[in-house]
């Protein structure tokens, strides 16, 4: 009995010593003792896959094709992603001129969405007030546009949209990260940020002016 207890205690101590505690750090992937169909040979996004020559399970669009997508509704009209329409390109149809104003009606919903998307995608570099003083400036982002400058204030909505979509100088394209309607929402919100710096007392509704004068 003594030997039996000794062996049992040693076994327990050995297992605990080798296996350690719950939650302890491991560099090795979890061991799956029973396969249980946990890992299936199906395609999963962004995983390696030997079936294709380039080894990617997520396929890229073949050149010259457009993803099948639901149309955008712009003022009651359906616009598809492949169409040469202002909402897709920022340009007047058939020309290279930028549209002056946002094709979407500027509503409170659009502004709120724009604010959220601006804060996610633009704020790290352009800063909360669009003056180019984002946190990345401290880390070596040398050239960030101050969007409060006159050339950006007078820039057409279409060109701002075009810049977000295609990038400019050192700024990369955000087309993959921000959807078309969200880009227009950001344009609308940027206009509000610019106005917040430029507005005079006369721009404030009459009944609010007295409050500000105090």
């Amino acid at each position: 009995m003594r030997y039996f207890l000794l062996i049992l205690a040693l076994t327990v101590v050995t297992i605990m010593g080798v296996a350690g505690k719950r939650g302890s750090l491991s560099r090795q992937p979890p061991i799956e003792i029973f396969p249980d169909m946990d890992r299936q040979p199906k395609l999963r996004p962004q995983e390696p896959n030997a079936f294709f020559a380039d080894g990617k399970s997520s396929r890229e669009h073949p050149a010259g094709t457009v993803a099948h997508a639901a149309p955008l509704m712009v003022n009651g009209q359906a616009v598809y992603p492949h169409e040469d329409a202002p909402v897709n390109t920022g340009k007047i149809t058939g020309t290279t001129n930028f549209v002056e104003t946002n094709p979407f009606p500027v509503t409170e919903t659009l502004m709120a969405r724009g604010q959220q998307r601006y804060q996610i995608n633009c704020l790290p570099c352009h800063g909360p007030q669009a003056d180019g003083n984002g946190i990345t400036k401290k880390l070596g982002m040398g050239v960030v546009a101050n969007l409060q400058e006159k050339r950006f204030v007078t820039m057409t909505d279409g060109e701002v949209f075009h810049t977000i979509s295609n990038g400019k100088n050192l700024m990369g394209s955000y087309a993959a990260n921000v959807t078309v309607p969200d880009r227009w929402a950001i344009v609308a919100y940027l206009r509000a940020l610019q106005l917040s710096k430029l507005a005079t007392l006369n721009d404030v509704p009459a009944e609010m002016q007295s409050k500000l004068k105090k």
Binding site: I15, R27, P45, I120
Partner: protein, 216 residues
């Protein structure tokens, strides 16, 4: 007769019984403690091909999770960003740092960076990120304080119990939509019950416990 069964054998049945109980207890306790994702999966921290620090990007710089994981609100999976997303800043910041060589190569050639996936559920579990983050379930509920991790590790078991605990009482976890990616935001125990019930009602949260909700 005593020559056939010596006296010590009188104790044998009791000793065997005690021994069996001890072995059984040890085996049960061991299985309970070790044969669970709480042991096998929690703490998994693989070495990644690029020494990307969430603590710097999401924590120190305060970048929103969705700057990189841009499709998480629209897609069932939370995407790994394109290398060009990294290059939006790293074409100027740490421009020639050897640690970012793989990122630059990927951005230039399209060759994927072989990131190691950490949080895995079985392939027959159809977890949908978008439905959770759009209805008040924060990233932190499953991924923990990513914004404090230099190297990401798994902190929750992501077992079926783990899912069901929340699906049975979603009101304990739901939070305002603008706090989803605010990983440091804490539930206020005084108002949470009321708020949680309200979110559950307003967003029509049907945290189904049917098998087919997750398994197909």
């Amino acid at each position: 007769m005593s020559d056939i069964f010596p006296k010590w054998t009188n104790w044998l049945p009791l000793k065997i019984a005690v021994g069996a109980v001890l072995v059984g207890t040890a085996a049960t306790a061991g299985s309970w403690y070790y044969l669970t994702p709480k042991y096998s999966n929690v703490g998994y921290q693989p070495v990644q091909p690029v020494a990307f620090s969430h603590a710097i990007h999401a924590g120190q710089l305060g970048m929103d999770c969705r700057y990189c994981h841009s499709a998480v609100e629209k897609s069932w999976y939370s995407n790994i960003p394109t290398a060009s997303t990294c290059m939006n800043c790293h074409n100027q910041v740490l421009k020639d740092d050897p640690k970012l060589a793989l990122v630059r190569e990927s951005a230039a050639t399209g060759k994927p960076i072989p990131w190691v996936q950490i949080h895995k559920v079985p392939d027959y579990v159809y977890f949908n990120h978008s439905v959770h983050v759009n209805r008040g379930v924060s990233c932190v509920e499953c991924h923990g304080r990513i914004d404090k991790m230099d190297e990401v590790r798994q902190v929750e078991p992501l077992s079926m119990t783990f899912c069901l605990d929340c699906h049975r009482h979603p009101e304990k976890h739901l939070r305002p939509p603008d706090k989803i990616t605010d990983l440091g935001w804490q539930v206020d125990p005084k108002t949470q019950k009321q708020n949680g019930e309200k979110f559950k009602h307003d967003w029509k949260v049907q945290s189904s416990q049917n098998c087919s909700a997750c398994h197909r």
